[in-house]
């Protein structure tokens, strides 16, 4: 059994928790206070509004505990706004938020809501036809040498992994396709086994 938290400051928390619980070997924890991070084996940063989340992260003293959690080697999975929080650089802004992954992201890169879409993606090591929902989504415009690109849409990078960090610009939690969450849960299990 692994415990995976979902940061619950704002956004699609319930959907991630449901996806994680359906794995059977996972207990999903709704994380509203920083001290809850201590008991976790992995963490999901959900979709929502990244500016709102960043403000609440600062306000409730989450920044340092999140950084510490990341440094401990435990896996983190960011979707959409979560990906923005994890990027080292954000186009048009001075610095990244948590700056966990060596990549640059561009916010709202596909346009406004009427341009939002769903499609199937070939996701390396996950699935050849993963259902992906893009909502006012960001994209990854640049990655460092240590970042592995997992998936692209029209030649733009939309999913990547760097060691224990996993991020995508779409919403696997809004579909019935569990394969990306399964991939992350396996990451958490392997890390837990290795850290013991």
């Amino acid at each position: 059994m692994v415990k995976i938290g979902v940061l619950a400051l704002q956004g699609a928390v319930r959907e991630h928790a449901k996806m994680l619980e359906s794995e059977g070997t996972t207990e999903a924890i709704i994380v509203k206070k920083a001290e809850q991070l201590d008991e976790l084996d992995g963490l999901v940063l959900p979709g929502g509004e990244s500016t709102t989340m960043r403000r609440l992260i600062d306000l409730y003293g989450f920044r340092e505990p999140l950084q510490k959690f990341a440094d401990s080697g435990k896996p983190i999975f960011g979707t959409c706004a979560g990906l923005i929080l994890m990027a080292r650089q954000i186009v048009g802004e001075e610095e990244g938020h948590l700056a966990l992954m060596d990549m640059t992201v561009e916010r709202n890169a596909f346009g406004r809501q009427k341009e939002s879409f769903e499609t199937e993606l070939d996701m390396k090591g996950v699935a050849e036809d993963l259902l992906a929902v893009f909502i006012r989504a960001p994209l990854i415009s640049e990655v460092g040498a240590s970042v592995e690109v997992l998936g692209t849409h029209r030649d733009e990078i939309v999913a990547a992994r760097q060691d224990q960090f996993l991020a995508c610009s779409f919403h696997p939690e809004l579909t019935d396709d569990h394969r990306f969450h399964h991939y992350f849960v396996e990451m958490v299990k392997n890390t837990k086994a290795a850290l013991v």
Partner: protein, 294 residues
């Protein structure tokens, strides 16, 4: 292959707003204050509901200049209101790049019989409801998000509470029914049968349900969250208060931590006077916005 405007994309957009506050703004400056305070979206308007109520006359879609100004000022989503049944206002707002359209009883209805066929649009819609039947009729027409109607522009929470409690209790009733009772319930509610089936299966509405109409304090926002709202709209409350910046932040925090009463107490200290507010029974029936639409 990429599909825009699917139910999943439209409803998903509202899912991302959960636990958040959507604020009414009338210009770029207010929009920036809202974004800075942590709002998940703003509603671009020509006038906030309490001013619409005070001004009287016909209230219409905002001047496109205001929408464009607000879109240019913030990176969070921008919503806009169209009149009930006004197909063209909605199309214009979609073309201008509004991220969400509120087919709203705050504006003077353009059609007293038909609501907009929201399935025909790529942009998602939010609609008001007073009970489950009304919510499901709007979802049947394609609404991707529901909110209580409350009584807009009053600063009085009583109607929003009534509408939220009504929807929640009717959902519980449907969940507890046997399958053979559902068609009769559909007839009684005036709601699509298939949507009642979906509620029975999932135990909840197929779209998110926010609170709106009369939220004037951080405690009001927290009250609506504890009654089961997925998030809140604050209309006149923020920018009719004495200190909009602090007020906006306090509402955002109270919505996130709606069960942390000590925090809400701290947040509510020295906020200055909230908007004055109106007792509902003092509003003549023809002037009640919640009775617009069906």
């Amino acid at each position: 292959m990429a599909d825009t405007g699917t139910d999943r994309v439209k409803r998903g957009m509202a899912e991302m707003q959960k636990g958040g506050v959507i604020m009414d703004v009338v210009n770029a400056e207010q929009a920036k204050i809202a974004e800075e305070a942590g709002a998940v979206a703003v509603m671009a308007l020509e006038r906030v509901p309490s001013d619409i109520r005070a001004a009287g006359g016909v209230a219409r879609m905002a001047d496109p200049d205001i929408l464009e100004e607000v879109i240019g000022a913030v990176s969070i989503p921008v919503m806009a209101k169209a009149r009930i049944g006004h197909i063209v206002e909605a199309r214009v707002l979609e073309a201008l790049g509004a991220d969400y359209i509120d087919e709203s009883e705050v504006l003077t209805p353009a059609d007293e019989v038909y609501h907009i066929d929201k399935n025909a649009y790529t942009v998602p819609f939010v609609c008001g409801s007073r009970d489950l039947g009304e919510a499901l009729r709007r979802i049947g027409e394609g609404a991707a998000m529901i909110r209580t109607k409350g009584e807009p522009g009053t600063g009085n929470i009583v109607e929003a509470v009534r509408h939220m409690r009504m929807v929640q209790s009717q959902i519980k009733k449907v969940v507890g029914m046997s399958r053979d009772e559902l068609m009769t319930e559909a007839k009684n509610l005036g709601a699509p049968y298939e949507l009642l089936l979906s509620i029975q299966e999932n135990g909840k509405l197929p779209v998110v349900n926010f609170a709106a109409g009369g939220i004037a304090t951080p405690a009001d926002a927290a009250l609506m969250m504890s009654l089961g709202s997925d998030g809140v709209f604050v209309g006149s409350g923020v920018f009719k208060s004495e200190e909009p910046q602090r007020f906006a932040r306090a509402i955002v925090e109270a919505t996130t931590h709606y069960e942390d009463y000590e925090l809400i107490g701290q947040l509510s200290k020295g906020l200055g006077t909230a908007m004055k507010g109106i007792e509902i029974s003092n509003i003549p029936e023809p002037e009640r916005m919640q009775d617009r639409g069906w």
